[in-house]
């Protein structure tokens, strides 16, 4: 029973990430909202909190965010086969499309059309990432402390040269400290 379910899940992972990989325009980061739609909303493989935790880990690791996310999610859901399925899914469309384009050499004219398309897509991609961030925030920010942490982090990210990794480290430290404060009060 479990084996069939696992295999079916791996196939779903494969096709899900292939779909996402084919239709993500505007960089790997734009994949995140699309991944969230499938993984959290559609298939309910992860909760919103678990998805955000995934983002925390993948932001800290080197490599393309999209690949990291695929590996993590695949592994979390069905172990190593899942990781393989998701990774192949996310890489295959890019691989195939680029090979096709490179082989049938883009004429300069066609490249201009693609550039126009890309420029048109950019505002929509920004909107996509923004709406996903707001949705995730609505579901996960539950206290005033969380909200102020998010706002401070946001302002620091936009207006100061502080590297995101430092913000993440700050988040980890504050999380652990606030927990030990809570247990001290209770204990």
């Amino acid at each position: 029973m479990k084996k069939t379910n696992d295999f079916q899940t791996c196939l779903k992972l494969l096709f899900s990430f292939m779909k996402i990989g084919t239709f993500t325009f505007g960089g790997g980061f734009a994949m995140i909202p699309l991944i969230e739609r499938d993984v959290v909303q559609k298939y309910k493989w992860l909760t919103t909190e678990e998805f955000i935790d995934m983002l925390a880990v993948t932001q800290c690791s080197p490599g393309p965010v999209a690949v990291n996310a695929a590996v993590y999610i695949g592994y979390r859901i069905t172990g190593l086969p899942g990781a393989f399925a998701a990774t192949i899914g996310v890489a295959l469309p890019s691989f195939a499309i680029i090979l096709l384009l490179a082989h049938f050499l883009l004429a300069k004219g066609n490249q201009l059309i693609l550039q126009e398309f890309f420029k048109g897509v950019q505002p929509a991609v920004i909107a996509l990432i923004l709406s996903a961030g707001i949705e995730m925030g609505k579901k996960s920010i539950k206290s005033r402390y969380d909200l102020s942490a998010a706002v401070i982090a946001f302002l620091l990210l936009i207006f100061s040269p502080i590297h995101p990794i430092l913000l993440i480290i700050a988040g980890v430290i504050s999380g652990v400290i606030s927990r030990s404060l809570i247990s001290k009060n209770e204990g």
Partner: protein
């Protein structure tokens, strides 16, 4: 990642000229999918045909694969550890801020006038209020730009 690729491909190994590399980057950023994979596949193909494309793509994916499997394994194993749980709960608002911030950072680079801003807001409205698949909305905006 791109400067690192440029360093390896153009400067260290002279597989491609700077001009050829620049052309590849231009295409890799426009085509769907992660830029890193697109670039690796393209550079690999130009350098050593299909095999080059395959191994370059494998190369860009493999370290991430191994590291993330390791990290994900640790997270799964120590899922109930109270320090890990509190670390993650402290992290969540930060990560949300990073995502929302990323939208603004990208916007800062690419939104160059009132028109782009209006498009972005219109897209936002559509995505939040309508049940349309965001992929369709994105395609709509892209095709709209090409047609007009």
């Amino acid at each position: 990642m791109l400067p690192l690729i440029q360093n390896e491909v153009v400067l260290k190994n002279s597989w491609l000229s700077m001009a050829q590399f620049a052309d590849i980057i231009a295409v890799a950023e426009i085509t769907p999918g992660p830029v890193a994979i697109n670039t690796a596949t393209f550079v690999g193909y130009k350098t050593a045909s299909f095999a080059g494309a395959f191994f370059a793509t494998l190369g860009v994916v493999l370290p991430s694969f191994m590291l993330i499997v390791l990290l994900a394994g640790l997270v799964i194993k120590y899922k109930d550890n109270k320090y890990l749980k509190s670390a993650f709960s402290g992290l969540r608002p930060i990560v949300v801020a990073l995502i929302v911030g990323a939208a603004f950072l990208i916007g800062r680079e690419t939104v160059t006038g009132h028109r782009d801003l209006i498009y972005a807001l219109a897209a936002l409205l559509l995505m939040v209020k309508s049940p349309l698949n965001p992929i369709l909305i994105i395609l709509f905006f892209g095709l709209g730009a090409v047609i007009f």
